[in-house]
């Protein structure tokens, strides 16, 4: 029982990390809080479903196209809407939240409500690991996440765009004096964040069903993990994902599943009271010192 709980707690943590990676990347580089993140996640899942079920494309092609489309939408969203309000935090939040609402409620209006919206698993098998039966999709999810984290690390350390990302994230004005186009990098970061949301949806959604409500839930989970880990900190996201993921699963097993809802909320409250910048966040350190 305990090994099973540990295995499923690890999987739950990886799901949370995967959900938050894109939101964190966008905020860490451009400073934009993309509140349309959950909507982009759901949009990607519905696009995959449409391409798969109505256009009849092969699953891999449908998923790949959906990731590309979502990435493109993220880039266009920055170019035509966010660029005008960048730097005004409140306007950024209002506009991204508005876009998210519009996307999600449009799906509801168009009738994308029901039980039939689900994606198939990639591999239809299950394995016996340390006394617990685990399905291949969950194992694949962990492997994809590890691969994605490694790719992101290599990208920001060894590619010109990645290095420009880091430059903008460290000091935007100084980076601009080196010829780095701040708006272009911000557009890339929003687009990549959207793409990561789409990748997360592609591997997580086969475990459940696609629904409009999922958009709000994913946004809340991503926010919770980022706030607890420290906004903009990748290490913080991983640590927070592990803490919240394990706490949720142990609460589920030893206290009751209906209490899992409040685990992340309690964690946010505790972090805000004890260390408002989160585990590794830099945003409010100055105020905290004062």
């Amino acid at each position: 029982m305990i090994t099973g709980t540990l295995i499923y707690a690890l999987i739950n943590s990886v799901i949370l990390i995967l959900m938050a990676l894109g939101f964190n990347l966008t905020f860490g580089i451009s400073g934009v809080s993309n509140f349309a993140y959950g909507a982009l996640y759901v949009l990607s899942a519905f696009v995959t479903w449409i391409l798969l079920k109505t256009a009849g494309l092969p699953y891999a092609l449908a998923a790949g196209l959906s990731i590309l489309i979502t990435t493109l939408i993220g880039g266009l969203m920055y170019r035509f809407i966010l660029m005008r309000v960048r730097g005004q935090a409140l306007s950024e939040v209002i506009s991204t939240f508005g876009i998210g609402l519009a996307i999600l409620e449009l799906f509801r209006y168009l009738g994308f409500v029901g039980f039939e919206y689900s994606l198939p698993v990639f591999i239809d098998r299950s394995f016996h690991i340390a006394g617990a039966q685990v399905d291949a999709q969950r194992i694949l999810l962990v492997l994809v996440s590890l691969f994605l984290i490694l790719c992101l690390w290599l990208f920001v350390h060894y590619t010109s765009i990645g290095l420009a990302f880091r430059g903008i994230a460290q000091d935007e004005r100084t980076a601009m004096t080196f010829g780095i186009d701040s708006d272009r990098m911000a557009m890339w970061s929003v687009a990549m964040g959207a793409g990561l949301a789409a990748i997360a949806a592609t591997v997580i959604m086969p475990l459940g069903t696609i629904s409009v409500e999922e958009g709000y839930e994913v946004l809340l989970n991503a926010l919770a993990v980022c706030i607890i880990g420290g906004l903009g900190s990748s290490g913080g996201v991983i640590l927070a994902g592990l803490v919240v993921g394990f706490a949720q699963r142990f609460t589920d097993t030893y206290i009751g599943p209906h209490w899992t809802m409040i685990v992340s909320l309690v964690a946010i409250l505790l972090v805000l009271v004890i260390k408002p910048s989160g585990f590794f966040g830099k945003q409010k350190e100055l105020e905290e010192r004062i």
């Binding site: 099973g4 039980f115 475990l207 589920d252 599943p257």
Partner: protein, 426 residues
């Protein structure tokens, strides 16, 4: 002269062609049926579809005889969104009032989706005196209200299953499993919402505790939960022979997928809304074989060869909409309700609300769900034999994607098959 006769003949022919149908009811004011419900939910949407099917059938046969003249039915539907998250009850009430005042319906069918909206709308319906046959909201408290003031609330009826009958039928399924296999260890998993909590508590108190079953655990899951691994591990480690699920959320089918992939050796038998229709097999990756689902009414996405009307209903739906019926609650009663209303209007001979309500009380209709009669709380009586009462239908998903009705015995098409690794305790 010949020319004139020709013109006169053509004129007369055209006149008869245009006015002919009106003499059979096309010209008379239609009888408006108002359908205020949650139309973006599968049960609301499909209930409207089955209702439209009944209306088209009746209209094609000339309509409804009201006294000396024949009238057609006309449907006015409105999405009151009462089942959507965050939509307050007063907003749903505004929708019901709007349809009553603007469309002047002779009756309301299907009605509110959530029980809260039904309870709150009862005074409104009584105020405007519009007969209503609800076929989705299940709260038994509405019957108590009708019994307490039968004059005021005489217009309100329900022909779908109520929560008490649901508990009774789940108990029936568990009794049947106990009788067949000798199982008496159960793990209860349900959604953390009022109706599911009440149903789970009802089955535990009224049956499991009294019949000597061992309840290994009862877990309540928040709406939207999609990982049931810890509950399933608890059920497995405790040696559960039966898992009783009670859910109506979309992600609840994941429970069955996980039960399947984790190979938990226990019989999954209860109610999971997404498993109700035939499309669930493809939607959930063909991973639901072995699960037993109690559809709330015979005909609501499940039919039995032993009940010919349910088969005819299923075939007619497929013919009309070019796809199978999905949704396990509200569809069959919504269809039957149109015929029940037709018969009541014809018996009353008028559209007067008091007369129609009095005629509805005398309903004795043999339809898709079985025989429909109303008790003194205006609730359709459910039983175990479609010849005597309306019935539910519990079916088991086969490993090849088929569905076999296994309960009640009067309409059963086969026996329950145990999942791999589970042996009978007899």
């Amino acid at each position: 002269m010949k020319k004139r006769l020709w013109f006169a003949g053509i004129f007369l022919g055209l006149f008869l062609l245009i006015t002919g149908p009106f003499q059979q009811g096309f010209g008379a004011e239609p009888i408006v049926i108002g359908v205020p419900t949650f139309l973006t939910h599968v049960d609301g949407k499909e209930s409207l579809n089955t209702l439209m099917m009944a209306v088209d059938e009746i209209n094609a046969k000339g309509g409804v005889k009201v006294g000396a003249e024949k009238k057609l039915f006309k449907v006015e539907a409105l999405d009151i969104r009462d089942g959507a998250p965050g939509v307050p009850v007063p907003e749903a009430l505004l929708g019901i009032e709007k349809i009553i005042l603007e469309k002047k319906p002779a009756a309301l069918l299907v009605g509110p989706f959530r029980s809260e909206a039904l309870m709150a709308s009862m005074d409104l319906i009584a105020k405007y005196k519009v007969p209503m046959i609800g076929s989705i909201a299940m709260i038994p408290a509405s019957e108590d209200k009708i019994r307490q003031d039968p004059v005021k609330y005489k217009y309100i009826f329900r022909n779908c299953l109520n929560a008490k009958y649901l508990v009774g039928n789940l108990i029936g399924v568990m009794t049947f499993i106990n009788k067949e296999f000798g199982f008496n260890k159960v793990f209860v998993m349900h959604q953390d919402v009022a109706w599911a909590r009440a149903t789970a508590t009802g089955v535990i108190k009224a049956y499991f505790e009294k019949a000597g079953w061992k309840v290994l655990g009862e877990e309540a899951y928040p709406t939207g939960a999609s990982d049931f691994s810890s509950g399933l591990m608890k059920a497995q480690s405790g040696g559960a022979q039966v898992i009783l699920p009670i859910f109506d959320m979309a992600s609840s089918a994941v429970l069955v997928k996980q039960w399947n992939s984790m190979k938990v050796p226990a019989l999954m038998a209860g109610f999971i809304s997404p498993l109700a229709g035939p499309g669930a097999w493809k939607t959930f990756d063909q991973k639901i074989g072995g699960a037993i689902n109690v559809n709330f009414e015979l005909g609501s996405a499940i039919s039995s060869k032993k009940a010919p009307k349910s088969i005819a209903f299923e075939e007619a739906f497929e013919k009309k909409y070019k796809r199978p019926l999905e949704g396990g609650h509200g569809e069959a009663p919504s269809y039957d309700a149109v015929y029940i209303l037709k018969e009541a209007i014809e018996r009353a001979g008028t559209l007067n609300a008091d007369a129609v309500s009095a005629a509805l009380e005398k309903t004795d209709y043999h339809g898709v769900m079985g025989r429909t009669r109303f008790d003194n709380g205006h609730q359709a009586i459910f039983g175990m034999d479609p010849k005597e009462a309306a019935v539910v239908a519990a079916f088991q998903w086969t490993d090849k994607g088929g569905r076999t009705v296994v309960f009640p015995e009067s309409i059963a098409e086969g026996k329950i098959q145990l999942p791999a690794g589970l042996k009978t305790a007899k």
